[in-house]
């Protein structure tokens, strides 16, 4: 028997939880069909998470994409279908995207598993980043390099800790709901071991009574703790945090049953959400808003 997982019309970091709530209670070998027929919009975080869901299933999942032609076509241009067809049994119409012609896609959905992939991602993002971040989002030219550094560190989280490959995507879009202006968003998702298991693997590490996913995220994201004893470790996420703080951005990291967020004034998210539906790996979202030039 196949269980149908209903996907909301608008899919972002908040609403994707509705999908995870439906998937989490099911045994891994339970056949599922992700039904996104009525979905009209999805953030890069949501698209990469949809791919990640497929990686968590022992029984190959099925997927039905958006019926809306514009939405389906856009998803194709983000590279979603190219990877989805490797992971899902695709049902219904599967659009064919033309790569490289979508100005809002700074980096189409790209697999990340090894160090070379990070080089490739950084190389590719720089071709578009300068033009879009500076000319369209009005960020300082200095932000371009820091943006690429941030992207590199977020991707390395997969290479260094996940123990299996993941996905990265970078897109711009207008976030009407919260901001009413454009944002650039980095999404880095994997279905690996997650922060808690990664930190638990540290030799000789002593866990407190309160040890859980939320605390593991606090250690890694806020305190810069790493499973490695090397004091130079843990700099990556610290660097991401600094970048996000400087450009009034938002960082959220979900792992296991918790999500931690560095919340800017324009957002209403809570700093730590716990008791979420359990989901493997870690899912990072970095959102940098368009800068309004002073009048």
């Amino acid at each position: 028997m196949t269980t149908v997982i209903n996907v909301p019309p608008s899919l972002d970091a908040e609403t994707i939880e509705q999908v995870l709530d439906q998937v989490a209670p099911l045994p891994r070998d339970q056949k599922i069909l992700i039904d996104a027929r009525h979905t009209r919009w999805a953030s890069p975080y949501a698209l990469t998470t949809l791919l990640t869901i497929a990686q968590t299933r022992a029984e190959r999942a099925a997927f039905t994409g958006p019926e809306n032609d514009d939405t389906a076509s856009y998803w194709a241009r983000t590279g979603f279908y190219k990877h989805a067809e490797q992971l899902y049994d695709l049902h219904g119409h599967v659009p064919r995207g033309r790569n490289g012609n979508e100005s809002s896609v700074l980096l189409e959905i790209t697999p990340v598993a090894k160090s070379e992939d990070v080089h490739d991602v950084v190389e590719r993002i720089q071709q578009k980043a300068q033009a879009i971040l500076v000319n369209e989002l009005h960020l300082d030219p200095q932000a371009t390099m820091r943006f690429a550094m941030t992207l590199s560190e977020a991707c390395q989280n997969i290479v260094e800790h996940a123990q299996r490959g993941g996905w990265v995507a970078v897109q711009t879009y207008t976030w009407r709901q919260r901001l009413g202006r454009r944002v650039v968003q980095i999404a880095v998702c994997d279905a690996g071991i997650g922060f808690r298991a990664s930190l638990e693997s540290a030799h000789g590490r002593r866990m407190s009574d309160r040890w859980d996913d939320g605390m593991a995220l606090e250690d890694a994201v806020i305190r810069g703790v790493s499973r490695f004893r090397d004091p130079g470790r843990g700099q990556g996420l610290a660097g991401v945090r600094r970048f996000v703080g400087k450009w009034d951005g938002k960082l959220s990291v979900r792992s296991g049953t918790a999500r931690i967020a560095i919340v800017p004034s324009w957002d209403e998210d809570i700093p730590l959400a716990e008791d979420l539906a359990p989901f493997p790996g870690s899912q990072i979202q970095i959102t940098i808003p368009e800068r309004i030039p002073p009048r």
Binding site: V122, M145, Q156, Q235
Partner: protein, 184 residues
């Protein structure tokens, strides 16, 4: 002896000839290992200029592997060889990553800007920084000269110079100390 290492060339030679970005830990470790190999071939006291001019992007992890872990071997009383390092071609975004890496280990280094000016970067206490700046202005000095310049006792001035030398931030020739960039 003064040596020049173009980090970008090392990157292309050791990792991939298409890369211009210093990103990821394995890349940084490979570049550092090659720099250490080059250093080990040079005998006697040496000043090595590590040039980042042609490096496009330097991320935090790579700064840790290339810069901090290289300096860490030489910081302290028993360096593997009498080597000093001067960084050149460091852009502002490079510096973000380098400073973050240095702070993790309480390390410091000297870099030279495009105009030839010397800058002390990283973790240095106020007394050491004042001594370093005084030495930079004098060009070279003995402990007594520094003591006069900063208005401190000669023994204290000597201890500051010894500490800076131990951290490979200044060079020593007999009783005289010299800032790194001016010893060329």
């Amino acid at each position: 002896m003064i040596n020049h290492i173009d980090v970008s060339s090392v990157l292309r030679r050791t990792v991939c000839d298409l890369y211009s970005n210093l990103v990821t830990r394995p890349t940084g470790a490979a570049v550092r290992t090659e720099i250490e190999n080059l250093l080990s071939a040079w005998r006697g006291p040496s000043l090595t200029v590590i040039d980042f001019s042609h490096v496009n992007l330097l991320d935090f992890s790579c700064a840790d592997e290339v810069v901090a872990k290289l300096l860490l071997r030489f910081d302290g009383g028993t360096p593997p060889q009498d080597a000093y390092f001067l960084l050149r071609g460091v852009r502002e975004d490079h510096l973000d990553a380098i400073e973050a890496a240095l702070e993790r280990y309480d390390l410091a280094l000297v870099m030279q800007d495009d105009d030839g000016g010397l800058l002390l970067v990283g973790t240095v206490n106020d007394a050491q920084r004042r001594a370093w700046q005084a030495l930079r202005e004098m060009g070279r000095c003995a402990a007594d000269d520094l003591a006069t310049a900063i208005g401190e006792a000669p023994a204290y001035a000597a201890s500051l110079l010894a500490a800076l030398h131990e951290r490979r931030l200044i060079m020593r020739f007999d009783d005289m100390y010299v800032p790194l960039g001016t010893a060329q």
